[in-house]
Symmetry: C2
Amino acid sequence: SRSINLAVIPGDGIGQEVVSQGLKVLRAVLPQDVKLETREYDLGARRWHRTGEILPDAELESLKGHDAILLGAIGDPSVPPGVLERGLLLKLRFAFDHYVNLRPSKLFPQTATPLAGRPDIDFVVVREGTEGPYTGNGGSLRTGTPAEVATEVSVNTAYGVERVVRDAYERAKARPRKKLTLVHKNNVLVHAGHMWKKIFDKVGEEYPEVTTDYLHVDAATIFFVTQPERFDVIVTDNLFGDILTDLAAAVTGGIGLAASGNINPTGAFPSMFEPVHGSAPDIAGQGKADPTATVLSVALLLRHLGYETEAARVEEAVAADLTERAGAAARTTDEIGDALAVRVAN
Amino acid sequence: SRSINLAVIPGDGIGQEVVSQGLKVLRAVLPQDVKLETREYDLGARRWHRTGEILPDAELESLKGHDAILLGAIGDPSVPPGVLERGLLLKLRFAFDHYVNLRPSKLFPQTATPLAGRPDIDFVVVREGTEGPYTGNGGSLRTGTPAEVATEVSVNTAYGVERVVRDAYERAKARPRKKLTLVHKNNVLVHAGHMWKKIFDKVGEEYPEVTTDYLHVDAATIFFVTQPERFDVIVTDNLFGDILTDLAAAVTGGIGLAASGNINPTGAFPSMFEPVHGSAPDIAGQGKADPTATVLSVALLLRHLGYETEAARVEEAVAADLTERAGAAARTTDEIGDALAVRVAN
Ligand SMILES: CC(C)[C@H](C(=O)O)[C@@H](O)C(=O)O
Ligand SMILES: CC(C)[C@H](C(=O)O)[C@@H](O)C(=O)O
């Protein structure tokens, strides 16, 4: 009989609330014969305040034993910026070699968008997850003095770029439009940019059926708001991917709907699924958080574990629910989770 | 009697066409007693193809003698990415210590925007121009092999950050809303980010009348499309400023309208004014380019040289012209330049 051994990291702020709904929908959609085991990990701001611990080795080790991780949100204004992001969230992405940070963007028919003309938006960003300016390289000299120098080093390897570019080609090949756009800034960041472009072109020779395209990151932001329908699959570096996917979320109904998967395609380590949004401490505990991004992240989790039918059912449930939302009274976090759970169970 | 000794670098693609219109409007708006001398510098792709030269020392030296520089656009697909950008455009910004890269964004009443609801947009981005990931630090090891490592180093100094932050506070203080937002990514780029934030807070103590705010760059892109009216003055690093100002241009009518000034506030070197757009080789030589961004850059140039009345007259002429454009037949580059020249002369 089949089973899923899931690690759950609710984290901070609205994390707990949205993760509960994600689990509710997951339980409702899974076939009877699949045994779901979950173990909750108490990590984040409260734990840090209480014990000073961020991610103890024993817990990192224990997380490795799971089939996947569902994460809510990490971060709180009471913790200095970077402590939990670098020490917990990025630590997990790096330790578990989540080199494909997968972020789909789709504008559902009834969903509000700030864009006039409601363009057709349906693309996926493959964001590199283990290199670039996120490596934590760099430092500060004469810190706090008028003579301070602070550096941040973007580290890029052919090894790291090739594997994520190849993954993006595979995804593009599997989609009807078969189009892949590389986004970088190779007219300024010439060392990293040239390497990305060279590898992108070289791997592309193996995918003659995929149409390719290159855009500088600044130009890409323009097209995100003027012509988002031009995009199918985008592959880009860790920092550009961070920026672009928030913008992508904004034009497709907001970060309340944006899902993500931190994927290790080799299966050597568990992949981690999380909404793109943060912990939103201002609305935490009030039942106001939209759990949809977490529920859509659960769909990515299901697909990753081979439950394609169930993943599609979750996505259809969300699409149907979003259609009903237009003009309807606002619902609580729990009510949205309940409605989605009912839909997927049918 | 007064005089302006202007260097003109038309550059590539549509550069020549838009610069001609900028000069036409400049001549029309200047008082009779101001003597305008211009010297054109042949720099860019054609020169590079012809002679292999990008920016010879003698020309760099000669450029120093001018009161200001008007630049059209640099870059052509026939030149490898980075050669002209790094060797000419960025070389000028760095050599002339253009540490304030000023980029105003305003949505004029009749101008098309991709944003539904037409928010009130009127902010200015103060982009640091001489540091960050643009320094050209970094390199590549085992280039072209599967073991390649490519790095890009963002270099940030307290000296460089403080002066641009101070400039931004001064600009915020002089505006009715007196609001300044720092944009960075201090939860990931902790070394540079912490330094920026610390200096931003410290300098802020001298400006109690300015309201301040901090946003991560990813979140900032969301607000650019959902709530751009919240911004007044933004100060940010070189790369984030590059990305954000293209997005800002996109939501305020496109890069056909986006002006910029690369300013050395000390006056030690000439400041340089240029449209944010590129050389657009696909429409070059066809009279299709919109010269408005260049004309608005001329307004920034006038203001920088102390011709405030004339700067305002150019901006009013553009506003009036934009109002008439809505629904009217498209005009050529030349016709738009003529119309603006007539308006400012009145
Ligand atoms: C919280 C932060 C470290 C994170 C990132 O920058 O990757 C977030 O913005 C995201 O996009 O998942
Ligand atoms: C052409 C390029 C080097 C330049 C930059 O990145 O600064 C341009 O995008 C700009 O914004 O002026």
